[in-house]
């Protein structure tokens, strides 16, 4: 049988927001593009994003601008963000939103007919462009339809709609291929038939999203198995700051059919409050010093804020996600949580039923239909769920090029640096757009200067053997049970609260599972066989988990999405450090690398007293890098 082969200029792995935006950019520059998605086209995890896309358009409050957004993003990330990424993101996101509108997106409107913007945790002004609570779906659909528009254009010019941009749905990539140190393509298989495919392309954009399935309780779907993280590692790229994982504070913990599913922050933005089993609105106890002047310390002021945002501080329910997640965790640990390990989130006593249905339509409908919970009548039981990984492929901010691998690019959740130690809600949809486009541009620039390198027969043979291997093994390990074991380890030892000894135990256990995973055997044929699919996903998750555990063990402080019981509190020395993971073919190695210092013009956007909370006196005294 002959191997299915395709040649493209740019190969985009992942069809979520970042992947599609990169593909549009590359195609509009005239390149031929292939889009690979692991599931059907249009089902990417981006559709789950509810709240909105942060962009300082200033439509609702004209005090907003990119500098305020930049400051909010850096604060949210506890100043561990790559300053240049945060800067580009804050500057470019309004254009990316407006561009979607030109492509046909229909955002909710203000009275003046502009795009409406809503409040969200960590954002100083109403900043999130939204469509009810299904903004992610709007993004995906708009770009999907933009791609159709490009295809129709190609169809008119060449007679073949798929001549310039083609979607390969339900296809898994198992290897990114290199020749002479440069990207040459990728190898994978059709999930439907199990048959193998070779893509030859000088540039590959990784946009595979997150790693949630490494954990037991997660909002991510089965696709969030860290494929891109692992593919990049194996291709010689680095991962940065993999210890930082965002646990969304309000995932449903009960009933079981909706466990892990997110209750969007907008529920709190619209007036929902968190209470423990004593009926206490506990968030007032958990306002960190750095946020004291922005958040109300009493119920009266917090309640007034919903009506008058200029003269009151915001309710503490709207603190950044990591703060809320930790607060809930503390309440539950102190015995004030529900029997299912959560707390109550109630909007039913705060707003009339019809207002809730109007403002949070899909929240209402989702819980009513999935679990028979009517959020207009009863509180929800919520707790932290693994939601987002801040860490990811180390990239050049301007081009999204993966450091160390010519021809490889990464954007979206799979890329690291942008969000520092914690991502603000709403910043991920705009991140997708801004860096998806930049990755597309980066790939275009690269392809113009570099010719394609043919894939060698040796590389093909090695990749093919790897896919066949689990079928040839008899009576080996079962991938389902190894996956469950891994999730148990990460949940118990690398979860929301960590300690050095547990992390070391986790590292040992992950290594042991990894050794056994080399012996995974698959029953049944190649045709749409989920056991076979999981065998490859498992390998990826193991690398991600190893990288996370090792980075977490190295970072001896608590910051954003990384909390150490044995090192509580931030340490300004650690702020200067990124953890870089690399893979030597055997194991993941983690080393410290200095964070690039902020240039003076960005440094000066902050009040010096605020910076003193995050930076060492020497850094503050220096006042920026130039």
């Amino acid at each position: 049988m002959t191997l299915e082969r395709h040649k493209y200029d740019v190969l985009v792995i992942g069809a979520g927001g970042a992947g599609l935006r990169a593909a549009v950019e590359a195609r509009e520059s005239g390149l031929r593009v292939a889009i690979i998605c692991k599931s059907l086209f249009g089902k990417a995890h981006t559709v789950m994003a509810e709240g909105g896309a942060a962009a300082s358009m200033g439509n609702v409050n004209d005090n907003d601008n990119w500098m305020v957004h930049f400051r909010d993003t850096m604060r949210g990330g506890k100043f561990l963000n790559h300053f240049r990424m945060a800067e580009l993101h804050a500057k470019e996101s309004p254009d990316r939103i407006w561009e979607l509108e030109v492509w046909g997106a229909l955002f909710d409107r203000t009275k003046e007919g502009k795009i409406s913007q809503r409040n969200f945790g960590g954002h100083e002004y109403p900043r999130l462009a939204h469509v009810g609570d299904r903004t992610g779906l709007e993004l995906i659909r708009t770009m999907q339809q933009k791609i159709v528009q490009l295809q129709q254009k190609d169809g008119r010019e060449t007679g073949d709609m798929e001549s310039g941009i083609k979607v390969f749905a339900e296809l898994t990539i198992t290897d990114i291929l290199k020749e002479n140190g440069k990207i040459s393509g990728a190898y994978g298989y059709w999930r439907e038939s199990g048959e193998e495919v070779l893509f030859e392309a000088p540039a590959v954009v990784i946009a595979t999203g997150g790693v949630g399935k490494t954990f037991k309780i997660t909002s991510n779907s089965w696709e969030g198995t860290g494929d891109g993280h692992a593919l990049a590692l194996k291709a010689g790229a680095n991962l940065v700051d993999m210890e930082f994982l965002q646990f969304h504070p309000t995932g449903m913990v009960w009933p079981p059919s909706v466990r892990g599913i997110l209750v969007t922050e907008s529920v709190r933005g619209e007036g929902g409050v968190l209470t423990n089993t004593n009926g206490e609105r506990f968030m007032f106890k958990y306002i960190p010093d750095v946020f004291k002047d922005k958040y109300a310390d009493n119920e009266a002021e917090a309640d007034r804020w919903y009506e008058d945002q200029d003269n009151n501080r915001r309710p503490p329910e709207l603190l950044p996600r990591d703060e809320v997640a930790r607060a809930i965790n503390s309440e539950v640990k102190a015995g004030r949580g529900t029997e299912h390990g959560g707390v109550f989130l109630d909007v039913s006593k705060r707003l009339p039923a019809e207002v809730i249905k109007k403002r949070l339509p899909s929240m209402w409908h989702q819980f009513y239909e999935l679990a028979g919970v009517d959020i207009t009548k009863e509180p929800m039981e919520v707790g932290p769920t693994c939601h987002y990984v801040m860490g990811g492929v180390e990239v050049e901010p301007d081009t999204a090029a993966a450091v160390g691998v010519p021809g490889l690019f990464a954007a979206g959740e799979v890329a690291g640096g942008m969000h520092g130690s914690n991502r603000l809600g709403g910043n991920s949809l705009s991140d997708l757009l801004v860096f998806g486009r930049r990755a597309g541009m980066g790939a275009v620039e690269y392809v113009k200067k570099n010719t394609a390198t043919p894939v060698s027969d040796a590389a093909i043979k090695a990749a093919a053997e790897k896919i066949q291997a689990p079928f040839d093994r008899q009576g080996g390990e079962n991938s389902y049970s190894l996956h469950a074991e891994l999730q148990e380890v990460t949940h118990n030892l690398v979860g929301i609260i960590r300690t050095g000894s547990e992390l070391k135990e986790a590292i040992a256990k992950i290594a042991e599972i990894r050794k056994r995973s080399a012996n995974v055997a698959v029953a049944g044929g190649r045709k749409f066989n989920p056991g076979f699919h999981l065998a490859f996903d498992l390998d990826n998750m193991l690398l991600v988990a190893e990288s996370t555990a090792k980075s977490a063990d190295a970072r001896e402080e608590s910051r954003g999405g990384h909390t150490r019981d044995d090192f509580p509190g931030m340490n300004n020395k650690w702020r200067q450090v990124n953890h870089i993971s690399s893979f030597d073919g055997e194991k993941v190695n983690v080393r410290a690398q200095s964070l690039p210092p902020m240039p003076k013009e960005l440094f000066d956007l902050f009040d010096v007293h605020e910076l003193e909370k995050y930076m060492t006196p020497e850094e503050v005294a220096k006042g920026g890098s130039n």
């Binding site: 254009d95 229909l106 659909r141 779907s221 079981p256 239909e369 389902y480 989920p530």
Partner: protein, 252 residues
């Protein structure tokens, strides 16, 4: 509390197949997709099923449960009787691949045939002004999660394979309505195209699309019938036709 339930799952591929009986545990509050996953993990390791978000938001786990097109993640086990056998089959309007997975490429082909949105030529990014009341009608249709249950249930193609070439199906006729209602779309020929190229006339408004829509979009009442009326305006109403010749009523 966990209890045993009886499940009949269609297993097979394009060559042959049939319903297989299994007994599986179900916990309180679980949905059909949960028990299918349990079957997969404990009894049928290679049972093929598509799913993704398990939250009713992506529209991947479309199948037919007791003969009705549904999302498995949105169908509570408790909605069936204690003794009832739950029969699960793949979508019956599309070619079978394996077990509960069908080839839904028909829908993606149709998506590519619908003429894309055409913005005003001079509209610069950020300059668009639209009123909320003008975008609301199209927004309803953009809630669509493309589960293709409406495409599956529509008898025009479900019962008549030969109509697939000339009928876009409820989802994509609704897409045409969405664009025709879009306040800024400039394309003037969508009504004619809906009728002449995408088979709006095949629709006999029997409303099964609306019945199965998990997003509760009123596909028939709010998209297809208004579109039929718009088609009548331009094609079948002599008075309006005459009126449009006499005074050019653009931008209505």
């Amino acid at each position: 509390m966990a209890r045993s339930i009886k499940l009949r799952i269609w297993r097979g591929d394009s060559t042959d197949g049939g319903l297989k009986d299994v007994v599986v545990e179900a916990n309180e509050g679980e949905v059909v997709l949960d028990v299918i996953h349990r079957v997969q993990a404990t009894q049928m390791g290679d049972l093929a099923v598509r799913w993704n978000c398990k939250a009713g938001k992506c529209g991947s786990c479309s199948m037919e449960i007791n003969g009705k097109p549904r999302l498995a993640c949105m169908t509570q086990v408790a909605s069936f009787g204690e003794e009832e056998t739950i029969t699960v089959t793949p979508l019956r309007a599309f070619p079978i691949i394996k077990d509960l997975v069908t080839d839904v490429s028909f829908n993606y082909k149709k998506a590519m045939e619908i003429p894309a949105y055409e913005p005003p030529a001079e509209l610069a990014p950020g300059e668009a002004r639209m009123e909320q009341i003008d975008v609301e009608r199209s927004q309803e249709f953009r809630k669509c999660i493309e589960c293709f249950l409406c495409q599956d249930v529509c008898h025009v193609v479900r019962d008549h394979e030969e109509n697939k070439k000339s009928f876009a199906g409820p989802r994509f006729l609704m897409r045409m309505a969405e664009l025709d209602f879009h306040p800024l779309d400039q394309r003037k020929t969508r009504k004619q195209e809906a009728q002449e190229q995408h088979g709006l006339g095949f629709c006999n408004i029997t409303k099964c699309c609306t019945e199965v829509c998990p997003e509760h979009i009123k596909i028939t009442d709010n998209a297809l019938i208004p579109m039929k009326e718009r088609v009548a305006d331009v094609k079948y109403d002599p008075v309006r036709w005459l009126g449009s010749k006499i005074r050019k009523r653009e931008g209505l």
